[in-house]
Each structure stands twice: as structure tokens, then as C-alpha cells.
Symmetry: C2
Subunit: 230 residues, 2 copies
């Protein structure tokens, strides 16, 4: 609806890919609804995935023994994180909905997107013990993982060779988003687009646009072990 | 035993960290046994985690639409991968055992190590359809995930707030290593070292050294859904 803010964190090297098209479809459909949409195009930004001392501007809290978690927490509190992180945190802070758009790499997100999680979601900003899970600092936001797979729907079925696709969603949806207090919408999965016809791929884009039309009416999933493993 | 080759893929920024000590303990103990040990110290190497066109030397198979999986597969076959990848693949090829040593970041490995998986384990080298899982190309090798956590053992218990620690091992052990045909030894987990005494941390190092003494007699886990989710 008008006024809602959406951040799309997008990780694909090729604009002509299905992931590129899925991203464009989301920008178009959500903009049409009057949402304000921001895209973090990680490869185009050459986003840095490595968690290093460079993420802290100025002196370290403890330069004798570098602890990334402690240092970024301290840096966050004094406004001393590197500017690329501050910028991403601003986008997250303003967003009502985070959409992660990527091709599945090794049962997870590509490293460039994992680096976004590792570096942007620092303690103090996204959580602060004991404020995690339902009291995480990013509560009142929604997240949706939208991705393509190499393997087929059959491989990712319960009893399939790669196991239920939900098994691999646990670390991303529960371990990251739920941990930060974000409510999780059902994932959007395009199975094996490289092995289907151009027409089927077009249907995938239409289905995504269709889902987005009523997205704001969706209820979040119950992000507990039952959803994933029962 | 003498002659066995071990590759330790290590991802921590600080040599003085517990992860740094665990890595050193492994090098020492395994060398003492007569193994030949190689370490890929990812942060020290400034290992590139991003999967990009730079990983392919020379012309692309299809420069109209960049597909990372296809391009690295083709490049592998003609010896056209970037030199850092060829070097890591050589280390993997020679190794009988791969040890991954890292702090758990967001229910998974740090992005720099995920990038190692994304970029090194290319089709043609690590698997080649339909040769995956038990017929993956890296069969006859062993892997072991050794990591530290922020959360406590209680948080990662079945019924704990973060769920059974085994849930998050599925993508790494099954989705990556088993997929490539590698047999998986039981993980080695140091829970919440930042919240225990110096003495407890020393015990963690001793326990690791102790385990390594009889590591070669261990049987791999049964890497199927039952191990993770039952």
C-alpha cells in the first residue's frame, strides 16, 4: 500500500538472469502499489563480504585481540562503523519489508549476501542481548526469501535426495531474520529455472507479480521448528 | 598416520582467538602424527568471496548472458579458472581430510568461508551431474566442521531457543560436503567460549587435541535427515 517501504537485497551478477527479472518485477509491482522501493544490488555495488578491521573507523576498543562482534558493537554505539554499513543499516531501518533475491548456492545464499548479513546486522543495531528472537531490535518488519534453485522440486521434496527445501531455510529464516525479530513471510522459490522452457520461466515471473499483489495481506509463517522439520 | 594429508580451511581475523588456537593445536597434533598439514588462512590470504566474471581467465562461453555455474564449469575443463581457485583445488585434491575451522556467524560459516565453497567447489571438479552425493567427485575424502558459537549449549539444545545445533549443520555437512561425495566426521563444537573462564577455554583446546589423536579411527556420521532432524 502507498507509503510502505521495501528494501530488495539482490545478489546476481547478470541483469538478464531470471533473478534479475524477478527483481525488476518486484520493483515494478511494488512501485505500482505506491510503495517506495530501494534496491541493494550487491554485485553492482561490489559489496564487501569480509568481516574485517576495516569495518571500524578509528581506534579499536581492544587492539590487542581483535573481536569482530565486540568491535562492531562498540563502533555502532559511537557511530564508528564504515560508511557502507551505515548506509545499509539506514535502508534496513526505514524498510517495512526486506526481500532477499538470489540464486541458491550450496543450500544457502551466495557469499556476497552472507557478507551483507554478517556485516550489516551487528549487535546494537539488529539485536542486543537479551533482545533477540521475538524481542529482536528489527521487530515490526517483514522479510521474504525469494530464490532460484539448481535442483528440481523433486530433489527438494521430503524424502528427495536433497531433503525438504524447508530444512535449508532454517538458518536463513530462523537463525538470521527471526533472531533479529523480523517476521518471515513464506519463501518464494523458483525451482530449476535453467531446465525449463522460456514459457515456464515467463510463468514464474507472472506468478511472482501475482503474489506481490496481495503480499501485504499475508500472515507470517510460524517460524518455529515445527514449520521446518515436522 | 604418516603420509595422510590434511587441509585446514581457517577463517578468523585474530591469531590470538580461540579459533586461532584450535587451528594451531590441529597443525601441531596432526604434524606430530606424521600427517602433512596445509592451512588456507582465508583472512590472511584476503581470500575473495565474491563469485564474479574475474574467476574466469580469457573469453566467456556465453558473454551475452553471464551464468557463473556454466562459466566456471567450462573454465575448469579448459584450465581457465583464476589462479587462486586452481591453487585451492590442488590443495583439496591432495587432501585426505578437510577441516573447516571458524566462528559460527548467523547459524552458518562466515561469508569469507562461504565464498571458498562457492568458488572452489565448481562443477567438473567437485561434482558433475549425475555424479553427486555418494558418487560426488571428492569421494574418499573426509571433512570435519570445527567451530565456536556465541550461543550456549542450552540455547542450541533440542527445544532450546535456537533449536538443535544439528539443524544448522544440514546445509554445510549434507548440502556441501556430502553433495561432493565427501564423508563427514562428527562436528567439533566449542560452545560460547567468550562466556567461560580461561581455564575452560584451555580445556577446550586439550579436548580438541585429544580427539585428534584418534581421529583416523572414527567412523563418518550417517549423513541423512535422520541424523539431523529425528
Amino acid at each position: 500500500p502507498p507509503g510502505r517501504k521495501v528494501l530488495i537485497v539482490y545478489a546476481h551478477q547478470e541483469p538478464k538472469s531470471l533473478n534479475g527479472s524477478l527483481k525488476r518485477v518486484a520493483v515494478e509491482e511494488l512501485s505500482k502499489q505506491g510503495c517506495s522501493v530501494t534496491v541493494s544490488d550487491l554485485y553492482a555495488m561490489q559489496f564487501e563480504p569480509r568481516a574485517t578491521r576495516n569495518d571500524i573507523v578509528g581506534c579499536l576498543h581492544n587492539s590487542e585481540e581483535f573481536n569482530y562482534g565486540v568491535e562492531t558493537w562498540e563502533a555502532y554505539k559511537r557511530g564508528g562503523l564504515s560508511s557502507d554499513l551505515i548506509e545499509e543499516q539506514k535502508k534496513v531501518q526505514e524498510a517495512d519489508l526486506l526481500i532477499f533475491q538470489f540464486p541458491l548456492y550450496w543450500f544457502s545464499m551466495p557469499a556476497i549476501m552472507k557478507g551483507w548479513m554478517d556485516r550489516v546486522l551487528v549487535q546494537g543495531f539488529a539485536y542486543e542481548f537479551p533482545n533477540c528472537y521475538d524481542s529482536g531490535l528489527l521487530k515490526n518488519k517483514l522479510a521474504l526469501f525469494s530464490f532460484t534453485t539448481g535442483g528440481s522440486r523433486e530433489m527438494y521434496a521430503k524424502g528427495g535426495i536433497s531433503g525438504d527445501i524447508r530444512y535449508l531455510l532454517w538458518p536463513m529464516q530462523h537463525g538470521i531474520m527471526h533472531f533479529c525479530g523480523v517476521k518471515v513471510l513464506a519463501p518464494h522459490i523458483c525451482f530449476a529455472p535453467e531446465y525449463v522452457s522460456e514459457e515456464k520461466r515467463k510463468e514464474m515471473l507472472t506468478a511472482w507479480a501475482q503474489r506481490l499483489k496481495t503480499l501485504w495481506k499475508e500472515e507470517p509463517i510460524n517460524c518455529s521448528p515445527e514449520w521446518y522439520f515436522k
